[in-house]
């Protein structure tokens, strides 16, 4: 049960329009790439957050990551684009390997410039939105495409307005983020990430900071627009959303994967006791 009806294909293609070829960054993956995590360990001081975790994120599909708080899901996502540094193991994102030495380029740790370039291929949506408050909505969207990818401003504006249209915020283009509701801010943040046309999208509890009545509009944008044609990882507590949108569900606890599989199997018939206990709590909420 893939919740993604192909008919609703609100022209993802428009997204990868003429201007988006970047600066010869090779992978505008036509064939989607996956992510693999092998025996990764991450500690904060004495606290082990990722405990030799291994998993694989399938190319072009949406993977939902569930688990109790403190299970390491957010950290996992943040390790994928090297916002958090791992201490052991290996993460492969598309063609790029990350080890404790950082993202590698031909076996050697990347310099700051290459790391920045590597990150342009991975969209990240934060729990707390993190919009740039001193820029308008439009300014937030075009900042990186123009400044980082070197695209023409006019092209970026066209693409931005198109995206804002699709997240129903075109009329807010010239407002500052502080004037938007949380749900609107998060939709802008998603659009901002999509401006880079990244082959990978990561969502770190994108609706956890929102009032319940605002989560729907954000989840709709994620499911309907943001994950299409991309390899995506969604850390979430929204079980209904995971069931509907995800192609694969991973349940984490204690810095490891305790259960994974297709949504129906994992969410309805978890095999492990711990997953059953956790999901039972979620269902009850």
């Amino acid at each position: 049960m893939s919740g993604r009806a192909p008919d609703a294909g609100i022209a993802e293609a428009g997204n990868s329009g003429p201007g988006s070829s970047g600066q010869g960054i090779p992978a505008k993956a036509s064939a989607a790439e996956g992510i693999s995590v092998e025996a990764v360990t991450k500690k904060f001081g004495a606290l082990t957050v990722l405990n030799g975790i291994s998993l694989s994120i399938r190319p072009g599909l949406a993977t939902a990551v569930l688990g109790p708080s403190g299970s390491g899901k957010s950290t996992l996502v943040r390790c994928i684009n090297w916002l958090e540094h791992i201490q052991d193991g290996r993460i492969t994102v598309g063609g790029t390997a990350i080890t404790a030495r950082g993202p590698l380029n031909g076996g050697r740790p990347m310099g700051a410039r290459d790391i920045a370039k590597f990150r342009t291929r991975i969209g990240l949506v934060f729990q707390s939105f993190n919009l740039f408050p001193h820029l308008t909505v439009l300014g937030n969207l075009i900042e990186a495409p123009v400044g980082v990818l070197g695209r023409r401003r006019a092209d970026a504006v066209v693409q931005a307005m198109d995206l804002l249209e699709r997240v129903n915020l075109a009329e807010k283009a010239n407002d500052y983020p502080a004037r938007l509701s949380g749900g609107q801010q998060q939709r802008v943040a998603i659009a901002r990430a999509l401006m880079m046309d990244p082959p990978f999208m990561l969502f770190d509890e994108p609706t956890s900071a929102l009032d319940p009545e605002l989560t729907g509009e954000v989840l709709k944008v994620i499911g309907g627009l943001a994950i299409r044609g991309r390899t995506s990882v969604i850390v979430t507590h929204e079980i209904g959303f995971a069931r509907e949108v995800a192609d694969w569900v991973i349940v984490m606890d204690g810095g490891r994967v305790i259960e994974e599989g297709p949504p129906a199997a994992v969410l309805d018939n978890p095999t492990t006791e711990r997953a059953r206990a956790f999901l039972g709590r979620l269902h009850r909420i």
């Binding site: 740039f132 990186a144 500052y176 983020p177």
Partner: protein, 226 residues
């Protein structure tokens, strides 16, 4: 007595205005220089590279922990011997004032930058910005708006500090006052007038600053914590 003060003001208005012009010009130029140097020193002191951080921190401390009078005389009379640079009185005044202000501004900048939410940096990084770009485009602009009151306070301090440059014969307001006082033998009247002129000048600037800061973009609270 009030009449004689008024006389001082009217009879010597040309000289006083010239002095005032020098005072203002000196404050603006040295402040502009201090803004640039202070920002460089601040960024260097925040760098993770020790070769940048240590000298920058030392520089900032030195600027803040030496009196402006000592700096002025040191620059004017010691730099020729120390560094082989010979400044005019004007240039020495600019350098000394910029030295002093840049130290305080660097601290002001650092506090402002550190007050910016870490999420701003992470969002910028995840959009592929390098450290320099995210500082320039995202963090510093927000910090500057937040630091505006502090920067303007420093400008007022700098303006008041200019009054000591007369000791190396820079013809500022205070210097002209000295000339008038010795020409008229009316130090009481002259220096009272001068005190009032400084007072009014700073009062006007402070008022303008307060008005202007009401117009600064206000972001309000934002993000998840709002």
């Amino acid at each position: 007595m009030w009449l004689s003060m008024w006389r001082v003001l009217t009879d010597y208005s040309g000289i006083l205005l010239r002095g005032l012009g020098v005072t203002i010009e000196l404050s603006i130029i040295s402040m502009a220089l201090a803004l640039v140097v202070g920002m460089v020193a601040c960024l260097a002191s925040l760098s993770h590279l020790r070769v940048l951080r240590y000298p920058a921190t030392l520089y900032v401390e030195f600027c803040r922990d030496t009196p402006i009078l000592v700096q002025l005389i040191w620059v004017h009379f010691a730099w020729p011997g120390l560094f082989g640079v010979k400044f005019t009185a004007w240039d020495s005044a600019v350098v000394a004032l910029a030295l002093q202000s840049s130290g305080y501004l660097a601290e002001e900048f650092r506090a402002g930058i550190e007050s910016i939410d870490k999420g701003q940096v992470e969002a910028s990084q995840s959009l592929g910005m390098t450290w320099l770009r995210l500082m320039r485009r995202i963090v510093v602009p927000q910090a500057v708006i937040r630091m505006m009151p502090g920067i303007l306070n420093q400008f007022v301090t700098c303006l008041k500090s200019t009054s000591i440059v007369s000791i190396i014969a820079v013809p500022d307001l205070m210097y002209q006052a000295g000339l008038i006082a010795s020409a008229t033998f009316q130090p009481m009247q002259v220096y009272t007038v001068i005190a009032l002129v400084y007072f009014l000048l700073v009062l006007i600037i402070s008022f303008a600053v307060r008005q202007a800061s009401k117009r600064l973009p206000r972001f309000g609270s934002f993000g998840a914590m709002s």
